[in-house]
Symmetry: C2
Subunit: 409 residues, 2 copies
């Protein structure tokens, strides 16, 4: 009897999520127990709509494309932001999916995503079990936010961290050139968890201490203290580079960015970012040159700055997901466990998604300095190995050239 | 008698301006006619303040640092934004400078910069000539804007173009993943000349036609036409990626960005960018997912994406500047002349700065399509060779590690 598998990708993009997909593909191609691996387009949405591609056909004996896939940013199979309904309230989505599973002889379902996707993995694994179906449902993590619990860190985070830190260093060079006081504010993604903002600390080297101040959503933000911090910096240096999380909140939990809601000429309320808001504050209090830069989506898709460690681990977590399924596990997510910082060593394992779905890993208080404007050495030790190594991005006409599915867009 | 030289850098940063500085250093070190090369910090400001460093001491027999300097973004010597006064009105600045020239036995002055710096080169060269001083004053071009006349293109432009195009391609990957209509607007530098925005066209490849629309400051911008253009795109595709210059103006010459001036909670008028303004317009007219990304300063300092062609040419233009001075030329700028597109061939020459200072090279009308929403094949042929080749950026701890002058900042 045929035993087939389906893989899908979900949530926001990272530069490493296709490396995990490549790992799943490789694991399935090498397994004698899996006949065909299908890819569902746009996550569970495409799964329910029966929009499937035959990945075995595409990648069997096609090592070249598999290697390009590993380095391709965002989702090769497309994504969605759909969370399955609670089965007690409405089981119709689950029934559609198990009918697809039956139709295509699916015995393994791999879902690559963040918290919400792990929620889907948990729900689906329980549903198929309750219906006595022989389908193993496995989650494979991804998120630039690094906010999944149990796993030491998440695929995609290391590459985003490397891009953010390199960008902050290069912007520091840009900032240092004038002989006049200046403030540069880099706004970094991470609404609730400050891991990626913290990673800007890796920009520091022997000649540049930028970012000189780091503000994280885990610590209540005070505008008064912010001004005092900059004043103190100006006593030591002319140029102050500041990394801020998009999700900074004051002591009452209100987003700092919400303060500058304004109405534009079209009558829209425009919510300017945290960086823009603080730029206005610095201009008012110091009257000096100030610029805010929202690093924006490039931090999650700039595959040309991917971390080789991140790409390799993401690939391994894909392979591990297949291994877990073949061992008969279901409702688990593949995780990375750190054995040591120096030399950096990890092993791969599986963990119950119930522990992971809908939970969120924030930065430990001990890794933030007392003043709440920097991170500690423990944080640096944790982060450093994750950005290790660069990748050689495939190029055509001196431009990155990645793998793409379907008609040209 | 000692014959010394001074070099300085001015204007806004690029990733290639230090390659030209390295070329000047190399040219001076190899010349038997120049004893010591000084670097003035922060352009003519540091020159007047006598803030000088001995570059001969730093770089003689130090090929390693010279190679790192070639790949270091922004100004190793710092910069300024000072334009010398008209000598007829006030010659005091010129007198300060020629006193420094006399004190340090300066016979050669090299100034690396854009239009304003070439204005300084012209004024200084006339002043020293009128005072019968044996000082050759030579300009070396730089600007990401590519808006200098006479030279085929400017150092720094090719690297910025490569970063912009690669970023637009990677953001296109990020945009394509959801199965729902979306618009992404990339705002690119170039207030009056659209060269860098035009360079986003190089993001197009066999699988992605992004940017699907390109709007340049050389063509009057109409919001009505913009909406019609997007409607037409939505008939062909779900995701529309748009490149816009920060300097778009309507038929009356008013900046599009000026329309969204709003007042924030601190009471500041905030001038949101062109991208943000158009984002609001798209949200209003289409109600679809829309995001604007201001690529910001990274396009001028992301040395990790530098064009090898740009770095090599910038270095050659530095060498050529020294050669021109040694030939006895003064009041000239080193230029690059294109011999052919395919194979790409250039020669280096000198041209009178009078032709260049305060002039501006805009995109020829023939290189913009009739609808004013794209560029032509001629533009692509012009741009393609300028981004050719990548560089191996020096790294430490997997971060770029550049050359830096002075105490750690």
């Amino acid at each position: 009897m045929m035993k087939n598998a389906i893989v899908a990708q979900s949530g926001g993009p990272t530069t490493a999520i296709n490396a995990s997909l490549a790992g799943v593909i490789k694991g399935c191609l090498e397994s004698h127990e899996i006949d065909v691996l299908y890819g569902a387009l746009n996550g569970v949405e495409g799964l329910m709509d029966e929009r499937l591609v035959n990945l075995t056909d595409i990648f069997d004996h096609n090592e070249d494309d598999l290697n390009v896939l590993k380095l391709t940013p965002a989702m090769y199979l497309g994504s969605c932001r759909r969370k399955l309904k609670d089965v007690d309230q409405d089981s119709s989505e689950y029934d559609i999916i198990i009918n697809i599973f039956r139709k295509y002889h699916i015995h393994y379902f791999f879902y690559i995503g963040g918290n919400d996707s792990m929620d889907t993995v948990g729900k689906m694994s329980r549903y198929v079990k309750e219906h006595q179906m022989d389908v193993k449902v496995i989650g494979i993590p991804k998120t630039i936010d690094n906010d999944l619990v149990v796993t030491d860190h998440t695929p995609g985070f290391g590459s985003a961290a490397r891009y953010v830190a390199a960008s902050v260093l290069e912007m520091a060079h840009d900032t240092y050139i004038y002989n006049t006081k200046s403030v540069l504010i880099a706004e970094i993604m991470g609404r609730d968890a400050g891991w990626l903002t913290a990673a800007s600390v890796l920009a520091r080297n022997s000649y540049s201490r930028a970012p000189h101040l780091i503000y994280l959503p885990e610590h209540p933000f005070s505008k008064e203290q912010f001004i005092e911090d900059i004043k103190a910096q100006f006593k030591q240096r002319e140029h102050v580079v500041i990394a801020v999380s998009e999700g900074l909140r004051d002591g009452d939990g209100h987003y700092i960015s919400a303060e500058t809601a304004a109405v534009d000429a079209f009558g829209h309320a425009t919510l300017s970012g945290t960086g823009k808001c603080l730029e206005g504050l610095v201009a008012e209090k110091f009257g000096c040159k100030v610029r805010s830069v929202e690093i924006n989506v490039l931090q999650r898709c700039a595959a040309h700055m991917a971390s080789a460690t991140d790409i390799e681990e993401s690939w391994q977590l894909g392979l591990k997901g297949v291994a877990l399924a073949l061992e008969g596990k279901s409702g688990e997510m593949s995780i990375v466990c750190r054995i040591s910082d120096e030399p950096y060593q990890v092993i791969y394992d599986g963990a119950d998604v119930q522990q992971i779905a809908n939970a969120e890993k924030k930065i430990p208080t001990a890794w933030i300095n007392e003043a709440g404007n920097d991170v500690t050495e423990e944080m640096v030790r944790y982060l450093r190995p994750l950005i290790h190594g660069s990748v050689a991005v495939p190029e055509q006409d001196s431009m990155p050239h990645y793998l793409f599915l379907g008609e040209a867009l």
